[in-house]
């Protein structure tokens, strides 16, 4: 099979276009189609990884696709390098898991839900694969707009409020990114990331920095680090659990990818370093780490707590990436992958329990252990991994993170990680305790959004997904060194953007 | 810069401030549609008929209609809400 990265975008896109059409005729067919398409997408992602693995280890992996047949500077191209492969695999895996989870989780308006979910997947894949900066913007907007609609899925007051807040921030972020792109295009006359990377130093210095300021601000808003974190708790707290998992597990990591692609490859990290902005980035990222962990302490609602914890961990990833050392990049990428696994698991297992109980949000977790013990143990395992208990994966990424900070003598950061661990335990404990309170009878009452019965709509789907995640968290903790070799290739690509430029532009020589 | 443009650009600024300044949402929306029209004229001056066409059709046509629909929706919601409280 000739592998084409394009297919990973087109498959979810085509599915999303087909779903309303099929929905008009026969609903059961749509359900079947969703499952088949998601599985096929997973298969494609797996095949991509499988076929690319030897090249990945050899450091020669690069796929490019010239859309409309135009060579890079003229048309749009897809540039699929090893970093893209990593994040593309993440997107594929988590989209698949969450689509399967949603089968047993979402009870109403499924048609539109899956349309949006597949479009979201297509948007994320597009972000990861494209080699064109305006195309990147288009896909950023696509993923943003689908996420607005998905956050408002419950259509109650709090979720609508959250959507509006997120929308204001998201649109502002989009505008800033767009402004940055316009400045670059106006100065260079090209939209190709490789060509921009090749010629960025020719732009006048003030203009370079202005464009970087806009891009950086936009991305920081999307990432939700310190002064732009206000939307996070509200959004993650009131979106459906599957969507919260998707946002914090996948979209946040895709934003990390954009950060890496734009500032390490696109503009070159030297622009940030010479302006001293890597220090700035480190500072606000560390601030957002500690703030996230401290603010999580007050939350008595599980999803809001997870949102603040997510803010803390994202801050840590940005901080360790901004060190720009090989070890720092390794730790950042590793923690991005592992955090995606853990946070998705936490949101999904919490969402399973939240579905069963109405009433005050503070007490919704009561009796979780009696409802389904394996899922509850899963929740505990994810939480333990989050606070860095050794055999689980969270420990290893934190271990490398600490070493990266130590290498650069950033001692406050190490202290922050430890305090984050301990604060993490303090804010996870009440939920574990609350889950053990009460009795079985409490959680039997089903809420209105429980799925309709039928073969495709069984609790089994939900629990299976959580089990798979538990397995992944535990096994990736036991084998953290599998990641070492491919990650080194990615880090080499990030630290030497000339390789990316040569790959994309090929034989074309500029003056 | 032509004379027409020299007249239109400040006008654009004035209209933009008016859009924000109006307390009444309906007036704001209608002013916004005027804004779009003026912007479209500027696009034509700059020889961008495609963009001008899109701006006229979307900005001053469709968006205004959608905005007005939303405003009327908000009003009916408020009215029914008040009525419900009185009863």
């Amino acid at each position: 099979m000739i592998f084409s990265p394009l297919l990973l975008i087109l498959l979810p896109l085509g599915t999303a276009f087909l779903i309303p059409l099929v929905d008009l005729f026969h609903v059961e067919t749509r359900r079947l189609m969703v499952i088949i398409s998601a599985s096929f997408s997973l298969f494609l992602g797996f095949a991509a990884l499988w076929s690319a693995w030897p090249e990945l280890l050899a450091g020669t992996f690069f796929h490019s696709y010239h859309l409309s047949g135009w060579l890079p500077p003229l048309g749009i191209n897809l540039a699929f390098d090893s970093l893209g492969l990593l994040f593309s695999s993440l997107v594929t895996l988590f989209s698949f898991l969450i689509i399967v989870y949603s089968i047993g989780f979402i009870g109403h308006h499924e048609g539109k839900y899956y349309v949006l979910l597949f479009l979201f997947q297509a948007g994320c894949q597009g972000i990861v694969m494209t080699g064109d900066i305006f195309n990147l913007y288009v896909f950023i907007e696509l993923s943003a707009i689908t996420s607005y609609a998905l956050i408002a899925f419950e259509r109650d007051r709090s979720s609508l409020e959250a959507t509006i807040k997120y929308m204001v921030y998201g649109i502002l972020a989009g505008v800033f990114i767009f402004l940055g792109i316009i400045i670059i295009y106006r100065s260079l006359g090209t939209l190709n990331i490789a060509e921009i990377a090749d010629n960025f130093h020719r732009i006048p210095l003030t203009l370079q920095r202005t464009s970087v300021v806009f891009l950086l601000t936009g991305l920081l808003i999307k990432l939700g680090v310190f002064p732009f974190h206000f939307w996070m708790a509200k959004v993650y707290g009131s979106a459906p659990a599957s969507i919260s998992a998707l946002l914090s597990g996948t979209l946040a990591k895709v934003n990390i990818y954009i950060l890496l692609r734009l500032f390490w490859v696109g503009t070159g990290f030297s622009v940030l370093r010479e302006a001293g902005w890597d220090r700035f980035l480190l500072g606000i990222a560390l601030l957002s780490t500690i703030l996230g962990h401290v603010l999580a302490l007050r939350e008595r609602e599980v999803k809001r707590m997870l949102a603040f914890s997510s803010m803390g961990h994202m801050g840590m990833i940005v901080a360790v990436l901004s060190l720009n050392t090989p070890l720092g990049l390794f730790a950042g990428l590793l923690h991005a992958v592992f955090h995606a696994l853990m946070k998705t698991g936490l949101f999904l297992s919490a969402g399973y329990f939240l579905r069963f109980r109405e009433g005050p949000k503070e007490k919704r977790f009561t009796g979780a252990a009696y409802r389904k013990l394996p899922i509850f143990i899963g929740f505990i395992i994810f939480a333990l991994s989050m606070i860095g208990i050794p055999p689980l994966n969270g420990f290893f990424s934190k271990w490398f993170t600490m070493q990266a900070f130590l290498e650069k003598d950033v001692y406050p950061a190490i202290a922050l990680i430890y305090s984050g661990n301990i604060l993490g335990l303090i804010y996870y404990l009440p939920f574990v305790r609350q889950g053990m309170l009460g009795k079985e009878s409490i959680m039997k009452q089903k809420s209105t959004s429980s799925p309709t019965p039928g073969f495709f709509y069984q609790e089994r789907f939900v629990t299976t997904v959580v089990y798979i995640l538990i397995l992944l968290v535990m096994s990736s903790g036991l084998l953290p060194f599998v990641f070492q070799e491919p990650f080194e290739v990615m880090i080499a690509e990030l630290t030497e953007p000339i390789r990316y430029i040569e790959h994309v532009l090929g034989g074309i020589i500029h003056e | 810069m032509t004379l027409l443009e020299a007249f239109l650009l400040p006008l654009l600024l004035v209209i933009a401030i008016l859009v924000v300044a109006f307390r009444d949402l309906l007036s704001s929306v209608i002013t916004l549609s005027v804004f779009s029209t003026v912007l479209a004229i500027i696009y034509i001056i700059h020889q961008a008929p495609d963009v001008a066409l899109a701006e006229v059709v979307i900005g001053s046509g469709l968006m205004t209609a959608v905005y007005i629909a939303v405003i009327s929706k908000i009003r009916t919601y408020r009215q029914t809400h008040k009525r419900g409280e009185k009863e």
Binding site: L10, G69, F134, R186, H510 | -
Partner: protein
């Protein structure tokens, strides 16, 4: 106080931006850029007289696919948010004079929109603009004749059908491009024709048509979803 603070910060930011953006170079720094190529070689390479259309639907057709997908996503989102189980109850519409006037006008609006869509590669306009004009027909129906008229003539299911047809048409043209030229959304040279005539410019015409259908039906659905509840009360 709040307004004052905001105004000061915004003023300072604006000032800083003004200073920093003043140094944008007048011309592109690179000489062999894509934009220069677009200016010089569009007609020979794509067969479209309208450079904008050529860029939108040939060179950067993938962007257009993304953009129309954004509209598709918006439509789905709005339908999701506004869908209620109650059926819309129509208003009676406006007076007879208005109805008759628009009865004469509406076919021409339709004609104009089809013209703009189909002549996208020759004259200003294209799928997006023509599609929006198509959506205006729904607005006219809803406002002038009442939304039940729109429902009977142009039911939401049919709109959805048209929308997805448009989307799939776009995607299908892309896949035909793979078959004929070897790359997604490629412009097959067999379809080029003579520049300046209606059946020319290769895949740009069907893509225009697809985008027009998608955008038109999509915006119509948005407007229809917004209006349906409002008119119930009157």
């Amino acid at each position: 106080m709040k307004v004052f603070l905001t105004a000061i910060i915004l003023a300072f930011t604006g000032g800083a931006l003004f200073v920093n953006l003043g140094s944008i170079p007048d011309s592109f720094l690179l000489s062999h850029t894509a934009s220069r190529f677009y200016r010089e070689a569009v007609v020979t390479e794509t067969g479209a007289l309208n450079t904008v259309s050529a860029i939108l639907y040939d060179f950067r057709a993938f962007d257009s696919l993304g953009e129309s997908t954004v509209i598709f996503a918006t439509v789905s989102g709005i339908v999701l948010l506004l869908s209620r189980k109650t059926l819309p109850v129509s208003s009676a519409g406006l007076s007879l004079i208005v109805k008759r006037t628009f009865g004469i006008l509406t076919p021409f609006v339709f004609l104009l929109s089809v013209y703009i869509i189909l002549h996208g590669h020759l004259s200003p306009g294209g799928g997006f603009q023509g599609g929006v004009l198509l959506a205006v027909i729904t607005i006219i129906f809803c406002i002038i004749y009442g939304s039940s008229f729109d429902l009977s003539r142009y039911p939401p299911q049919r709109k959805t059908l048209i929308e997805t047809t448009g989307a799939l048409l776009f995607l299908g043209v892309g896949i035909i491009g793979i078959a004929l030229t070897g790359s997604f959304l490629g412009n097959p040279s067999a379809w080029r024709g003579v520049p300046g005539t209606l059946p020319s410019a290769g895949s740009i015409v069907p893509i225009n048509l697809g985008v027009g259908l998608k955008v038109g039906a999509g915006l119509a659905i948005i407007f229809y979803s917004m209006i349906q509840k409002t008119l119930k009360r009157q």
